[in-house]
């Protein structure tokens, strides 16, 4: 990790941080390669891999046919064969065409083979709504994938995590799925001078507080932090947890915070029914019920296919105002 600090202290974007992470991985390990739809000549649907084809060539930056099942499965096979592939699926919506490979193969092979074979693959994909792309391009299905034993699910929400989670994912011997929220790619920020390797087993407290715990991840982190600022003006000191990893969940960090604040609201762009937010709520009930002063609240997407018009899309998604209202409800106000 010789160039870990490279780029630290520099203004960058989430997209550029992710690209730098891929570059670093390609430079560091000849077993790493990137493949997916339009990752090469086009530069990536969200321009994450722009320029990498010129730098690394077509052997290591592989444009694939629109065959999600084949190229994700080929990534799994390549991982079995000793490579460390980074497979980009353009969006989570298209990952549904590769579910067989992800769930029946990547997630099972280690256990089913009695521990003989690892699948050290990283599968990246864009997730989430907010760009008026309508119902088939706006899913947030990361919580769904988090249902599956054998997979690890990470959701970088900050520039630092965009820059450093990939290396941790590649170092992990298990299949790791990275969900990148589409609204984060343009986010600008500065990498701290001391930014470096990150731990993908732990959640992070992004804002300490004492009155209510707001639990979120990915695309809703900054909406939740906005809500926390509004709450602060109203005298409510909210703690904000960025889950960062949806499987395995860092239950300890969640419970420790809830035991302190005695109130919790989960903010998740996924739908409410049978969801990750339901799982977190259940874990709080199981682990901190007697510490609670109020029922656990949830702010999720409306249970509709995400609509195209801007105002309806915004109405369907968690927003700072709804988060503020849910937090205040736990305080009886």
């Amino acid at each position: 990790m010789s160039d870990v600090a490279q780029g630290a202290g520099l203004a960058t974007t989430y997209r550029d941080a992710m690209r730098e992470a891929i570059r670093e991985a390609l430079i560091a390990d000849p077993r790493v390669f990137l493949m997916g739809e339009d990752v090469g000549a086009y530069g990536g649907c969200y321009a994450v891999s722009k320029g990498l084809l010129d730098e690394f060539g077509p052997e290591r930056i592989r444009d694939t046919p629109l065959s999600e099942s084949a190229f994700v499965g080929a990534g799994i096979g390549a991982a079995l064969g000793g490579m460390h592939p980074i497979v980009e699926i353009m969006t989570v919506n298209f990952s549904l065409l590769a579910l067989d490979q992800i769930i029946n193969n990547a997630a099972t092979i280690r256990h089913m083979s009695g521990g003989q074979f690892n699948v050290p693959i990283v599968i990246r994909m864009a997730t989430g709504a907010g760009r008026q792309l309508a119902a088939q391009h706006s899913h947030s299905l990361e919580g769904w994938y988090a249902h599956i034993p054998g997979l690890k699910i990470v959701t970088p929400a900050t520039i630092e995590d965009a820059r450093f989670m990939l290396a941790a994912a590649l170092a992990d011997p298990n299949p790791v799925l990275i969900f990148e929220h589409v609204m984060l790619y343009n986010m600008k920020g500065t990498l701290a001078p001391d930014a470096g390797p990150v731990d993908i087993s732990k959640a992070k407290i992004r804002r300490p507080g004492k009155d209510v715990t707001l639990i979120t991840y990915g695309g809703t982190l900054f909406k939740t932090l906005d809500a926390a600022e509004t709450l602060a003006k109203d005298g409510v000191d909210a703690e904000v947890i960025d889950l960062r990893v949806l499987r395995p969940l860092d239950t300890e960090t969640i419970l420790a915070s809830v035991r302190k604040t005695r109130r919790a609201v989960i903010v998740d762009e996924g739908w409410r029914s049978g969801s990750l937010s339901a799982e977190i709520s259940a874990r709080i009930m199981e682990g901190a019920f007697w510490d609670l002063d109020a029922p656990v609240g949830r702010v999720c997407s409306a249970e509709v296919p995400i609509p195209y018009p801007h105002h309806l899309e915004e109405a369907a998604l968690p927003q700072p105002a709804t988060i503020v209202a849910a937090a205040k409800a736990t305080l009886g106000s």
């Binding site: 052997e59 499965g73 080929a74 096979g77 067989d100 193969n105 256990h111 089913m112």
Partner: protein, 331 residues
């Protein structure tokens, strides 16, 4: 027997070995069926009986450096690849000493030592894995070939088409072997495919393909040797359609309502083992004593495997959740 373009050297030693391997698979699976009736083996059990010439023929063309991806009808493939009968039988019993630690059972035989990448129970699910394994061979500068077995049912899946395209596009060393037994479970090929000549489909992806009599072990070996040689020479993937027939039910739960007994009996007159034995008697001076010696050794191997499985241990329940995730850094 087909001798057109033959690379196999049909020495007496070699033909006896082909016979021995087919008989090993046949007798092993007959024992499996018996053990299933005795409830020693549970779950699904898919027998390869009638199709043995394909795996035996193809394996002759493969080497240690090559890799295998198979289906849920893979006991024979594992046995022929060199996974021990003991470890396979213990796996069928669900015992800790099984080749997948008892966790996979009949449909999920795995063995790292022989590069046997599983029994896959999703029809066509193994094809993309084979493409990826072949990609790793190419990118890591190795020259192994990946042999990918699948049935005629798999060609209806998108993964078959996607995988052939990708393998040819990237010129990857995959030998696709379609074991066409004419039925996708209970659906006859002509009831599910508009084009029933499976090898013809490969032309749509520029993949060289051959059709071969899958009941003729020498013909399969010859075709596999030709294909593997072309693949190893850098020609990209190839497809072999091996026409065969499954003598037994699809699985142990199948009452076979979809085919006539006469059809099954008709195919049994093409039994790859009987046919080969007759030919050997006529052409290679093989006698009953030779066959009896093979049968005896095979019976001993199987008896030993059953004893091994019987003596095996059940994995302790407190190990249940181990190996869901690998610990530590990626190798």
């Amino acid at each position: 027997m087909t001798e057109h373009g033959l690379k196999p050297h049909l020495t007496r030693e070699h033909v006896l070995e082909l016979l021995r391997q087919m008989l090993r698979v046949r007798r092993f699976e007959e024992k499996c069926a018996e053990l299933y009736q005795r409830e020693k083996i549970r779950g699904f059990l898919h027998l390869y009986i009638g199709e043995e010439a394909i795996a035996v023929g193809v394996m002759q063309a493969l080497e240690i450096r090559d890799a295998i991806v198979a289906t849920y009808r893979e006991h024979g493939h594992a046995l022929l690849r060199g996974v021990s009968a003991d470890a396979i039988m213990a796996e069928m019993y669900g015992k800790l000493e099984g080749c997948s630690r008892g966790r996979g059972g009949s449909m999920h035989l795995f063995d790292a030592a022989t590069r046997f990448y599983g029994g896959n129970a999703i029809v066509a699910g193994g094809l993309p894995l084979a493409v990826g394994l072949a990609l790793a061979e190419k990118m890591m500068g190795r020259d192994g070939v990946v042999a990918c077995f699948f049935g005629d049912g798999a060609v209806a899946e998108g993964e078959f088409h996607e995988s052939l395209n990708l393998a040819e596009l990237w010129k990857l060393p995959v030998l696709f072997i379609c074991e066409n037994n004419l039925y996708a479970m209970g659906t006859r090929l002509d009831r599910s495919e508009a084009q029933t000549d499976i090898h013809v489909k490969a032309a749509g992806y520029n993949v060289p393909a051959e059709v071969v009599d899958g009941m003729d072990v020498v013909a399969v070996e010859a075709a596999a040797r030709r294909s593997v040689a072309a693949i190893r020479a850098g020609g990209g993937p190839a497809l072999l359609e091996c026409r065969t027939y499954r003598f037994r039910a699809h699985s142990m739960f199948d009452p076979q309502l979809y085919r006539e007994k006469a059809e099954v009996e008709g195919w049994k007159t093409h039994d790859p083992i009987d046919r080969f034995m007759d030919w050997l008697r006529q052409t290679h001076n093989v006698h009953d004593a030779d066959i009896a010696a093979i049968e005896q050794a095979t019976a001993a191997e199987i008896e030993q495997a059953v004893a091994f499985a019987e003596a095996g241990q059940w994995e302790p329940e407190d190990m249940l959740t181990t190996e869901v995730y690998a610990e530590g850094a990626a190798p």
